[in-house]
Symmetry: C2
Subunit: 334 residues, 2 copies
Amino acid sequence: MRPPTIRDVAERAGVSKSLVSLVLRGSEQVRPEKREAVLAAVDELGYRPNAAARSLSERRTRTVGVLLNDMRNPWFVELLDGLNSRLHDNGLRMLLADGHLNRRLGEDLTRTFTELRVDGLIAVGTLPPSQALRSAAAQVPTVVAGAREPTLPHVDVVAGDDQSGARLATEHLIALGHRRIGHIAGDGVVGALRRRSFETVMREHGLTDLAAVERGDLTEEGGYRATVRLLSAPERPTAIVAFNDMSCVGALSAAEELGLRVPRDLSLVGYDNTYVSRLRHLWLTTVDNASHDVGRRAAQCLLDRIADPTRPAQVVLTTPTLEIRGTTGPPAGS
Amino acid sequence: MRPPTIRDVAERAGVSKSLVSLVLRGSEQVRPEKREAVLAAVDELGYRPNAAARSLSERRTRTVGVLLNDMRNPWFVELLDGLNSRLHDNGLRMLLADGHLNRRLGEDLTRTFTELRVDGLIAVGTLPPSQALRSAAAQVPTVVAGAREPTLPHVDVVAGDDQSGARLATEHLIALGHRRIGHIAGDGVVGALRRRSFETVMREHGLTDLAAVERGDLTEEGGYRATVRLLSAPERPTAIVAFNDMSCVGALSAAEELGLRVPRDLSLVGYDNTYVSRLRHLWLTTVDNASHDVGRRAAQCLLDRIADPTRPAQVVLTTPTLEIRGTTGPPAGS
DNA sequence: CGTACGTTCTGGAACGGTCCAAAGCCGGTC
DNA sequence: GACCGGCTTTGGACCGTTCCAGAACGTACG
């Protein structure tokens, strides 16, 4: 038994399929009694429009594809929430695909999305550079959210202002009295921006020589190892600015393992204000990127770009704030 | 400029659209030179089949819809991974929708999926009971994964064996020498199963009177509050079996706040073996549900059910294991 | 040489919607 | 009564595929 089609509804209501279509799309030009007959028929048959048929005919899918870099890293949840709300308000649905899950399968997600003929594409987080994304972005309106790359001709970028975020974190520590400060660096453009900002602030305060940087890799493990390296220097830093919350948690573990109390012996600042940072037992001081807002704005950007695909690419940065919790305090000596 | 269609490819290759279709679907009945001509044309034009047109004609979408209860709770990630790999092997793509994100928008996710005419539906985790899901399940092959409800006529259930999981946790604590043990209970059938199993094991060891149960709500906050209640009893428990990792983290915070050392003064067992439990700084002893396996089996179930939609519903349970980490040890007195 | 039979290839009918030009209906005007 | 114009309604073309019946083209055989 196949699901009812618009023709079944039309027959039942005693009208033409065109009229059913009009009613379903909310036309004013329909006499009330016919409208009700149609709606009654829809109800009785449990009719649901077929999205494939509709989009074939309309030449659009009212669907945007969202590419996630890795679900295991929880920073994107708020962003998605913001995205979703704004897209939903404009009658668009969201399809999710996780790059990490699929990379190991060697599947190209953008391929799926182009076959689906999504109306737009949102890349959330830093994705591995790929030719596929380049060419997809050339065909369908695309926005990068919560990351700074790739930078492509007609692709907008919406993200937190990493420079001012890292500045907030670093200045907070300096204001508390820290002088010798370490940084766990991340990958890509975002990593470079936060790192450079950290270094700039240190320089502004004449602390260049007291700044130490070790490379992490966005994971807890990476943060842990970077911290061990930072803390094994002859003069250990009294505070660390971590690239993100996950690596900050790694730092927390390293500190604990080395017998350091946080924040008494070591202050830590994370980045992203993920729910992990909000876990009472961790309670990380962290930089909040206003991810929900980033998501909403990214959605708006996409809507604008769908309306005018050729407009110049723009970069929208949100202003981060510092969320002070339990992992920062004045250094032991002060 | 519209994306090329199969007719464009046919024209360019100097064949009929039917032949192009044959080539693209991998027919053997095509002479090599024509095949190559077609493939070359596909390549030059950058042709991608239109999924909507295809599914309209084939009457299937090669897509399954996945309903998540809440992205903020990380237990499902492994499960999705398992799901995805098996579905992918069978040429099915996965569409994700998060119940939590959409509930606040008041949108009915199953509606989107039925309009999309997905070939199958997978409900991941305990979803709020809804008439929509009932009726969707009546129309399209459906499997519940990582939860035990709803139980519907032709809906399979694939999940960890909560009874034996809670038993593992409880017996582990008893074997360590704990006698007075608390439980943070969860919601729904899963919550009831784990709770009953906890109580059964306690009874088997003659510890009924030393068992205490407080209701949590699956979140850290709920776990925290339940633990405060458990620990404010005149005789506090020396160990707690938490419903899940998140509430276990809440318990950890509560213990810390009350000045108890874990595991010296209080042992804790979580549930789900999420990446949160693996964070070094938390390092929770937890029950592993073999989520990846649950995902794979759920996918297999769905495939079987798509092949034969009327077969009787089955319940598949995986055997959990205990992951012993840092939050359990012998009680202080022993 | 005509016929039968594989192997390849093709035209056209679905699939289930949207959209548009045109038709039907109505009361009001001249 | 013919004509007009606004409001409703309709038939049919179209969207880009798949699928099927049958055409075209060998090749082998009697």
